[in-house]
Symmetry: C2
Subunit: 639 residues, 2 copies
C-alpha cells in the first residue's frame, strides 16, 4: 500500500509516495530532503530526529529520544517506518561549512632533493617525427606509430586504450606527422609494455607542466595536492569535507550505511563527488583542466579505500576483520570514476589490515620512521588511533578504536575544529574560572578536540575533576554542578555563548574522553610490550594527522594521551598521508618503499590480545594508574 510522506524543511515542501514499511530516511532521500545520519543510520546518535506532525509511523527504536521528545512527536528518521500518510517537519540540519579555510590547508612542501623527473617519474612525454604515408608505404597509423616508438624512443612494446586509437589518426594528421605522446611506463620493470595515455599534435615543450595529483581520503577531510610532475612542485593544495560525512561520521557508521540497499553506490558517489570537485578547484587555480591530470596517487584508511572503489566493506567491521583488498592493483581513472584524464592511472596505496590502511603506510614513509636508526613511535590520531613502533629494522603496528570523542562527537558540546570552536582552555585553580580561545574569535559554539584535551588537562590539574574523572561537586563553586547526566563543569555561560545556552563538560563526556585516550595509550603499551622496548625509550614521537597539528603536547601528556617524554622529542608532521602519497606520485622508488613498508609491518590485532583490556583499564585514569609512567605530571601535581 502506498502512502504520501510530506516533508517541510527550511520552509520548503516536498512529498513522495512510498509503500508501507518504508524507512523515513529513505523516503526523505527519495524526496530530495537531506537528513544527516552521522551514525550511518544505526539509531545511535539521535541526530536524525524529525517531528511527525500528522499521521502514523512506527518507531523501531527511540533509544536516543526522551519520553518527552516522543510525546512531542519526535522520531528518528533512520529508525521509523511509514504506516500511513504522514506530515514530517525536518528541523534545521547541522551545517558543515562548505569550504575548509585555506590557512588550515596549506602545508610547506619540500621537493625531494634528489628528484629526477627522467629517472624517477613514470609519466613521460615522448616526441616523435613520423614519415607520412604514401601509395608506396600504406602502413596503418598504429603500426607507423609503433615503428617510430621503437626506432626513435627505444620503446619496443606498448598498450593503449580504444580512445587512444580513436583519436590517433586525426592527431597524426593535425600535427603533420609530428606528435607528442604522454606515456606511463614501469620504471622498475622497464621491459614491461609502455602504456600510451594521450597523443598531442606537434611538439609540446619539455618543461611545460605534466599534472598529477596526490589525494588523501580522510574519514572527515579529503585533501588533494596538484603536482607538476616535471618539476615536482606542488602547485595547489585543496581540501574539503568528505561528502560521506552526512552518512556516518566514523568508519563503522559508514560501513553500516554502505551495507544498506544502494548504500555502497551512494557512498562511492559521495566521495567521488568530493574528489572530482577538488580536482576541478585545484586545476582552476593553475589554469589547467581535469583531463590534463595524468595520474592520481591515493592514500586513505582501508574503509575509505573500499568505499571509493565500491568494494563491499562489511567484512572490515565483523570478526575476524578482513579487508577485501590491501594492495589494490593500479586502475584507470575511467574505471574508478575520478575525473582526471580517463586514461590516467589511479594508484591506490597499499594498507596492512582493516584498521591500518594506506594512510599509515604512507605516513610511515613520509615521517621517516621506516629508516630511523633508533626506535621511534609514529601515531595518527583521528577517529581511530593508529600507531607504529619501530625503526629501519622492524615495524609493529596496531589500531585502537578511540571513537570520535576527540573529533567532538559523543560529547554534549563537542564540535569539529571550525569557526566558533573553543580550541584551548586555561582554568584558574582557585576560582575554577576559565579562559579560552575560540577559532576565528567571536562567541563560542562548542569545544573541538584540542579544546577538549586542554579542558580535561586543566580540570584535572586544578582539581575540578579527580583522577577518575569525577567532578568535584564538593568545591562549592558555581562552575561545578549536578546536571542531567551527573556532575558537570560550565566552561561558558549562556550569556557568552553563540546559542545562549551554557557550554558544559559532563561526566558522560569525561568518560567518553577517558575511554578514547585510554584506548590510544593502551595501544602504545601493547606495542612496546610486544617488542619488549619501554615506551620511554622511543627516540622520537612522530605525530601525523591534522589533529596532531593543533594539540598542546603538554596537555595531551597531562591527560595521559601521549607518553610522558621531553617535548623536543615530539614532532608534529601534519597530513603525513597526503605527503606520502605525494612522494609516491613523484618517485617510483618511494612507491616501492610504501609496498615494502606494508609488507614489513607486523600487525597486532588488539581484540585478539588478552593484555589489551588490562592496559586499557589501567589507562582509564588521569593520567594513568601507574604514575611512574608520567613523572612530569606527578611533578606538576605536586606544584
Amino acid at each position: 500500500m502506498q502512502h504520501t510522506v510530506s516533508f517541510t524543511h527550511e520552509e520548503k515542501q516536498s512529498s513522495v509516495s512510498v509503500p508501507t514499511g518504508t524507512m523515513l530516511s529513505d523516503a526523505a532521500h527519495l524526496a530530495g530532503v537531506e537528513i544527516g545520519q552521522p551514525c550511518g543510520g544505526q539509531g545511535r546518535c539521535g541526530r536524525c530526529a524529525v517531528l511527525v506532525t500528522d499521521g502514523n509511523v512506527r518507531r523501531r527504536s527511540t533509544l536516543r529520544l526522551s519520553p518527552a521528545d516522543v510525546e512531542q512527536g519526535y522520531a528518528l528518521a533512520c529508525q521509523t517506518v511509514v504506516e500511513g500518510d504522514v506530515l514530517i517537519n525536518v528541523p534545521p540540519q547541522e551545517k558543515i561549512e562548505r569550504r575548509l579555510t585555506t590557512d588550515r590547508v596549506v602545508a610547506e612542501v619540500t621537493i625531494p632533493a634528489d628528484y629526477d623527473f627522467d629517472q624517477h617519474q613514470s609519466i613521460h612525454r615522448v616526441y616523435l617525427e613520423l614519415t607520412p604515408p604514401t601509395m608506396e608505404d600504406q602502413t596503418d597509423d598504429w603500426a607507423r606509430l609503433q615503428t617510430a616508438l621503437r626506432t626513435q624512443a627505444n620503446i619496443p612494446e606498448v598498450t593503449c586504450s580504444l580512445h587512444f586509437l580513436q583519436t590517433l589518426g586525426k592527431t597524426l594528421r593535425d600535427g603533420e606527422w609530428q606528435v607528442t605522446l604522454v606515456v606511463d611506463r614501469d620504471m622498475e620493470f622497464p621491459e614491461k609494455p609502455v602504456r600510451l595515455i594521450e597523443v598531442f599534435p606537434g611538439r609540446v615543450d619539455d618543461y611545460s607542466p605534466l599534472w598529477g595529483c596526490a589525494i588523501d581520503i580522510g574519514t572527515t577531510t579529503v585533501s588533494l595536492w596538484l603536482v607538476d610532475l616535471v618539476s615536482g612542485h606542488v602547485r595547489a593544495q585543496v581540501a574539503e569535507y568528505n561528502g560521506q560525512i552526512a552518512r556516518g561520521e566514523d568508519v563503522i557508521s559508514r560501513i553500516i550505511y554502505s551495507g544498506k540497499a544502494g548504500g555502497e553506490q551512494e557512498m562511492r558517489q559521495l566521495v567521488l563527488d568530493t574528489i572530482n570537485e577538488l580536482v576541478e578547484t585545484a586545476c582552476k587555480r593553475v589554469n589547467a583542466k581535469p583531463e590534463d591530470v595524468m595520474k592520481a596517487t591515493i592514500s586513505g584508511n582501508s574503509t575509505m579505500m573500499h568505499l571509493l572503489l565500491g568494494i563491499p566493506a562489511g567484512s572490515i567491521r565483523l570478526s575476524p576483520f578482513i579487508t577485501a583488498v590491501n594492495h589494490p592493483p593500479v586502475m584507470l581513472a575511467k574505471e574508478v570514476g575520478i575525473n582526471i584524464h580517463h586514461g590516467g592511472a589511479v594508484d591506490c596505496l597499499p594498507g596492512v589490515a582493516s584498521y591500518v590502511g594506506a594512510d599509515i603506510t604512507a605516513g610511515v614513509l613520509s615521517s621517516g620512521l621506516e629508516h630511523a636508526e633508533h626506535v621511534s613511535l609514529f601515531i595518527d590520531v583521528g577517529t581511530n588511533g593508529e600507531m607504529v613502533l619501530g625503526n629501519r629494522d622492524w615495524l609493529v603496528t596496531c589500531a585502537c578504536s578511540a571513537g570520535p570523542a576527540f573529533e567532538g562527537a559523543g560529547v554534549v558540546n563537542g564540535m569539529r575544529a571550525t569557526q566558533g570552536a573553543i580550541e584551548e582552555v586555561w582554568i584558574n585553580g582557585e576560582t575554577f574560572e576559565p579562559t579560552y580561545r575560540v577559532i576565528g574569535g567571536g562567541k563560542p559554539k562548542g569545544i573541538c578536540g584540542s579544546g577538549l584535551i586542554s579542558l580535561l588537562a586543566e580540570a584535572f590539574l586544578t582539581g575540578v575533576i579527580d583522577k577518575a574523572g569525577n567532578v568535584n561537586l564538593m568545591a562549592g563553586n558555581s562552575r561545578v554542578r549536578e546536571g542531567a547526566h551527573g556532575g558537570e563543569y560550565v566552561l561558558a555561560w549562556g550569556a557568552e555563548s553563540e546559542s545562549g545556552e551554557d557550554i558544559v563538560l559532563t561526566r558522560v563526556d569525561i568518560d567518553n574522553l577517558l575511554r578514547a585516550k585510554a584506548a590510544i595509550y593502551a595501544g602504545f603499551s601493547i606495542l612496546a610490550d610486544t617488542v619488549g622496548v619501554p615506551l620511554e625509550m622511543a627516540d622520537r614521537v612522530l605525530v601525523g594527522g591534522s589533529f596532531g597539528k593543533y594539540i598542546n603536547v603538554e596537555k595531551a601528556v597531562q591527560i595521559g594521551l601521549l607518553p610522558d617524554m621531553e617535548w623536543s622529542r615530539f614532532e608534529f608532521l601534519g597530513n603525513t598521508s597526503v605527503k606520502g602519497a605525494y612522494a609516491a606520485l613523484l618517485d617510483w622508488r618511494m612507491r616501492d618503499r610504501i609496498t615494502e613498508i606494508a609488507k614489513r609491518m607486523t600487525y597486532i590485532e588488539l581484540s585478539a590480545d588478552n593484555s589489551f583490556y588490562d592496559a586499557f583499564t589501567s589507562a582509564l585514569f588521569l593520567p594513568h594508574t601507574d604514575m611512574n609512567k608520567f613523572p612530569s605530571v606527578a611533578a606538576a601535581l605536586e606544584r
Copy 2:
C-alpha cells in the same frame, strides 16, 4: 530562425522544429522518421526521395531526380535544406526483411580434430579451495586468492578488473572459501599475467559449457557463432542484416556517412545493436545469458572494424588509403560495447590494408590457402572483390572495387538474395524466351546477384547481347526493345511479376555488371602477372563469401567473372570469415597464424598499378578480349 518540419510517413504524423539550413534527412532523424540512405547521404542513389507537399526547401542536388520528379515536388532528403515551415510526405521505404532465413545461415562445422581445450584455449576454469581467515590469519581476500592461485594452480601473477574486486569478497563467503574462477591466459607467453574474468562460488563442473562467440561483421550481414569453448561445438549460428545498411549500402557510403556530425557514433551504435541482438538470440537458443559469454573473436573488413570501434575511417577512402589500425589490440567487451561478459576479451582479427581486412586473413586461414602446396587463388566477392594468390611460401593480395552490382544495387531491377528474387535464368536461343527460378517461389520481385550472372551468361550465349554488351535490337523479338536507357531485355512481363511491371535488364545495368566483373578479373590478372604465374596454373580456386555459395560456376566463367578452368578445381567455402574467426576463437595457434598471414601477405595497391587499367579494359568484354583465356566459353559459343 526555427521552422517546423512535419512528416507524414506510413499514415503517421510527426514534426520537429529545426533552424534554417537543416538537412531534411537530419530533420527526419530528429523526428524519428526512418529514411534509408543507401549511398550514405551523397545524393547518388536517389533512394531517399521524399515529396515536399508544402513550404520552401532548397535542393542542393537533383542529380537522381528527373525534371518531372522535381516538378511534382520530389526532393532528395540528403541533399535538401529547410528554408521555412514544410510538409513532407515520406514514401514507403524499402523494407529489409527482419530476419535472415535460417536455412541460408547454418553452415556445417567440423571441430578441428586436434582441438585440445587445455592446450589450445585461452579461457579456462580454475577451482580453488582457500583457507578461511581467522583472527590469527587476517590476510585480505585478494592476497588470499593470489596465494591459492600460486600454490594450487601454479599461477604466479594475475590482473583483474575493479568489478572482480567488488564481487570477490561476497563470492568467497557464499562459496565457503571454495570458488571457481574463469581466467584468460596467454597460451603463447605463459609467463604473462593471467587475467581473472569472473569468480563463481563453489565448484563448477569441468564439462559444463564455457561460451565464446565468433563474429563476422559483413557490410551486408553480421554472422555470429556461439561456441562451447570446452568441447569446441558451435551451438548456435545466427545472422542478421548489418544495422548500418540504412546509412549506406557499401563501405564508401558508410565512411562518408560516418564523417558527418554524430555519424561515427551512430554507425558504431547501429552495428553494436545488431551484434548485441545476435548475442542475445544465440544465447537464448542454448539457455545461456549474454554475460556467460567470456570471449568474442571478430572478423570483418577494415571499414567495418573501424566503424565498430568508433575509429574514424575517413583516411581509408582517400589517397593514399590508410587505415588507422590493422592489428587492433585485444580489448575488453565493456570498452568495445559488446554485451557479453563485460570483462570478456574482444579480439579483433588483423587486416592487411584499407581494402584487405580481417575477413580476408581469416578467410585465407580457413580456406587452407596459407598451407597449400600448390599455387591457389582465394577470392571473396561482395561489394568489393578481394583476392589472394599464393601457397604456403608466399601470398599476394589485392582488392578491387567491384561496386554493388552483384548485390543487386545499381541495377534497375536488382535486389538482394531474398524472397522473390530471380536467382537462376535460362534463355531459349531460338525464341529468347526465358525460364527462371525465384527464391521462395511465387511471383518475382527482381533479380539477385546469382540471377544477374546467370542472366548475363545466358543472354550472351544465346545472342540476346553481343560480347560488348549491346542488346540485339535487330532480332525482331518482343523480348528485346529500346528502353529509356538504351536497349533492354524483358525477363518477366508485368503480368507475371509481383509489382505488375516488367522486370528488365537494361544497357546501363549490363555496363554496371561488366565493370564489376572486369574489375574482379583484372585483379586476378594483376596478381598473376605480379608473381609471373599464369592464372590457369592455379591448382584450386577457393571461393569465400555467401555470394560464392549460390553462383553457378559455369555461368560465372562464361561472363568472365571467374577464370576458365575445370569446375572440380573450384571450391565454395561459404563464410570463410566467420570460420576463420571460429578457428581463432578456439585455438591460440590459429589466432597466431592469422597474424602471420596478415604479415606475410604482400598487398598490391591497384590504383597505384599502371597495368590495372589495361587489364580492366580488356576484361570489359564477354567473357574477355583475349578468348584464349576462356577456351571452354569459346567452345560453347561454337556449339
